[in-house]
């Protein structure tokens, strides 16, 4: 018997932690990337939980896909980060407001 509630609760907590990490983080861009990883993993956990609970393999397949995408995403993110550091000399999120309209 799978404790679906508990598993989903854990997934949700991790998701919210990732969310809060993005919103409250003012200093470091790497932390933001890590938070995104956290969110993706939380979603993965939820996928796998429901896949097991519903006896459907599709959820697990999607979670594998998500892992792949997450790896690619963090690689691209780190690359952008390095390039950004070279241009601006800082990775502080608070100073990244060039999108301001």
């Amino acid at each position: 018997m799978l404790y679906i509630k508990e598993y989903f609760f854990v997934s949700m907590v991790i998701f919210l932690l990732g969310m809060i990490g993005i919103i409250l983080n003012r200093k470091n861009l790497i932390l933001m990337l890590m938070s995104i990883e956290l969110i993706l993993l939380a979603i993965n956990l939820a996928f796998i939980t429901f896949s097991v609970h519903l006896g459907d393999i599709k959820g697990q397949i999607i979670s594998l896909f998500v892992l792949t995408v997450a790896a690619a995403e963090s690689a691209i993110g780190l690359a952008i980060l390095v390039a950004y550091y070279r241009v601006r000399g800082t990775i502080e999120v608070q100073k990244m407001n060039r999108l301001k309209g």
């Binding site: 993005i22 919103i23 933001m32 999120v93 608070q94 301001k100």
Partner: protein
């Protein structure tokens, strides 16, 4: 022939107006005068054929409006009433055209002037020949337009501009009422043809219509609305203020429009609609009261006016009052008879006054004239003839109609009849008083003008004298010649043009009044004239002392300020309306509410919102993430709970929110 009567003046107006620069002043004068002369000739034939031989003529040309049950065609009706008006209009118009040739000879805009005169004649003919209310209304508006153009003929004069606008706007009130009357007639009768409406009038007796949520008598409403229209055009009390001011126009215009023809359009309307009025006794009573009050008040104002033309203008107003109350007493034929006679002697008075003004270098103030009897003997005799005729001196034209009017008023034996009789008799006294005051101040008094003007004063020559002679002849004999035809007992002259309910007939009662009642108007007239001459010859100083005494100041001021009508209108109506127009409808509504809700409001709202949204666009990633998170939460919340909260949200509420937002963000 009948269509030619109507169209010839239009052709001459077009030729003189649009091609005046090609045909020149002389050409314009010749063409317009000869066309109107020809029209007069044709009108005389029409008069013979229709009135004397008793064969009314109806000409329907082609449909004008055809929509559902509304069918209006261009139709011309020539019954006795119409041809009588035709003779009056075309003869006076012809004489005025002829008179203008000399009177306006030094004016640079002669073709335009002649064209306007002919245009006026055309519209007047449309008005009197109409066989339905719409066509009558077209002529009615047309004469208003022509009146505006002619008063404003010397358009560089500010006073003329103001008078013309006043005439037009005050007339518009009456026109508006006339159009309301037309709508009511169409509502009740489902037709606007005279023939249909008048034939059906008895069957709608005591019918009611709903007006302002009240059940009122249909014919009374129609009668009163028609009468207000007539009040505007015929310068009865209340809407009379334009008539004295209209004297700013050239004198021939005053003679043609503001004495003989256009102002009688209101009386004509009442006479034309006699079958309607006969079944609306209450409106007849209103007409009697308004007419007799007008006769009295205009005569009393005429007592103290110093402008030569204004005295005659108030006299016109007073005589129109006589005509109107004669209509109110159901004696339409008598009213028409007075209209007919009045046209001649009032045109004579105006044209003679024009000759005086012409001789005095455009001086109109009677106090600056005097002694002209030696310089202008012919004009003097003409003014005396006109005045004697006006005041009803026995056996002149005015005597026949005016005395009959006062007799029928007495013979009515009702409250309004007696009221009209007394006011009319007192007005007769006033009339002769101011007529002889005019004659005395202008002709008999010691010369008050400056030496050069007086020395150069001369009689007019041919073109101005011929109309004077003809009108003088008319002023003496017309009444005597036509009395039995117009108002003789048992005369079948009017045919079906006028309907008098058998209950309202009182010509026979009027025939057998006591002699002293019959003589009363003449006695009053002669005593008024005598008093006037005695006062101004022997007691001239006492008049001045009386004017300077407190009570004299009060009465004189009251009369010379025209019973304060203009003051009250300007201060309590016009000024208030202007203030309302500027402060409320312009500033608050047009530039305020409409713009806040409309263009400026929307533009400002969008601007203000855009500023706020710009502030929202901080550029920080964590802000965006936060907004996304919060919005998502709200969306999910509303989506999940929509079944609970949908009752709180109303489309009207949203509308109010949006309007509020417009006001909050607008700068006004």
């Amino acid at each position: 022939m009948y269509i030619t009567i109507v169209l010839l003046p239009l052709v001459s107006a077009i030729v003189a107006g649009f091609f005046g620069r090609f045909i020149g002043s002389k050409g314009a004068q010749f063409i317009t005068t000869s066309s109107i002369g020809l029209t007069f000739l044709l009108s005389s034939f029409a008069f013979y054929e229709v009135a004397l031989s008793g064969s009314p003529c109806y000409v329907t040309l082609f449909p004008w409006m055809d929509s559902g049950i509304l069918f209006v065609s261009w139709g011309f009706m020539f019954d006795t009433l119409t041809v009588t008006m035709l003779v009056v209009i075309t003869s006076i118009s012809f004489l005025v055209h002829m008179y203008s040739i000399e009177y306006m000879e030094s004016d640079p805009h002669i073709p335009r002037f002649m064209s306007y005169l002919s245009l006026f004649t055309f519209f007047m003919l449309i008005l009197v020949t109409a066989d339905n209310f719409v066509q009558l209304f077209a002529g009615w508006e047309g004469v208003g337009l022509a009146s505006y153009l002619l008063i404003n003929f010397w358009f560089t004069r500010l006073q003329a501009n103001k008078s013309a606008m006043k005439a037009f706007i005050v007339n518009k009130i009456g026109d508006f009422s006339l159009s309301l009357a037309m709508y009511t007639i169409f509502l009740v009768f489902k037709s606007l043809d005279f023939a249909t409406v008048f034939a059906l009038a008895p069957s709608f007796y005591n019918n009611t219509i709903t007006l302002f949520n009240m059940e009122v008598d249909a014919l009374t409403v129609i009668g009163i609305l028609l009468f207000i229209g007539a009040v505007g055009k015929s310068a009865q009390i209340g809407l009379h203020t334009w008539l004295p001011d209209a004297m700013e126009g050239p004198t021939p215009v005053s003679a043609l429009i503001h004495a003989a023809t256009m102002v009688t359009a209101g009386v004509f309307l009442i006479i034309r609609c006699s079958p309607l009025f006969e079944y609306a006794p209450f409106s007849l009573m209103v007409i009697t009261f308004v007419g007799s009050i007008t006769a009295f008040f205009a005569a009393s104002i005429g007592l103290v006016q110093n402008d030569l033309k204004r005295v005659i203008a108030y006299s016109t107003c007073s005589q129109l009052g006589y005509m109107v109350f004669a209509c109110g007493l159901s004696n339409y034929s008598v009213s028409m008879f007075h209209l007919f006679n009045h046209a001649f002697f009032k045109a004579l008075l105006f044209l003679s006054a024009g000759a005086v003004i012409h001789a005095m270098n455009d001086e109109q103030d009677m106090r600056k004239m005097g002694g002209l009897v030696s310089a202008l003997p012919i004009t003097y005799s003409m003014i005396v003839i006109g005045s004697l005729s006006l005041m009803g001196f026995p056996f002149l034209t005015g005597f026949y109609s005016k005395d009959v009017i006062l007799e029928i008023a007495f013979a009515k034996f009702t409250i309004e009849g007696t009221f009209a009789h007394w006011l009319g008799t007192i007005s007769a006294f006033f009339t002769s008083f101011y007529s002889f005051r005019l004659i005395y101040l202008t002709f008999l008094n010691n010369p008050q003008s400056n030496y050069n003007t007086f020395i150069k004063a001369h009689e007019p020559v041919f073109f101005m004298l011929i109309p004077l002679f003809l009108l003088g002849f008319g002023s003496i004999f017309i009444g005597y010649i036509t009395k039995d035809m117009f108002i003789g007992l048992g005369s079948d002259f009017w045919g079906n043009a006028i309907y008098i309910s058998p209950n309202n007939l009182n010509m026979i009662d009027a025939e057998f009044l006591p002699v002293n009642i019959k003589l009363l108007p003449v006695i009053f007239s002669i005593s008024g004239a005598t008093l006037s001459v005695i006062l101004y010859t022997l007691f001239a100083k006492n008049i001045v002392t009386f004017k300077l005494s407190p009570i004299g100041k009060m009465t004189y001021g009251f009369l010379s300020k025209k019973w304060y009508f203009d003051k009250v209108y300007n201060e309590y109506v016009v000024q208030k309306l202007l203030d309302f127009g500027y402060n409320v409808s312009f500033k608050t509504l047009d530039r305020g509410l409409i713009e806040v809700i409309g263009p400026y409001g929307i533009a400002n709202t969008i601007n203000a919102f855009v500023k706020r949204f710009t502030n929202l666009q901080s550029g920080y990633v964590y802000h965006y993430a936060f907004v996304i998170c919060i919005s998502l939460t709200f969306f999910i919340f509303f989506y999940g709970l929509w079944f609970m909260i949908q009752d709180l949200f109303d489309i009207k509420l949203f509308f109010l929110f949006i309007i509020n937002l417009l006001f909050i963000s607008s700068k006004y």
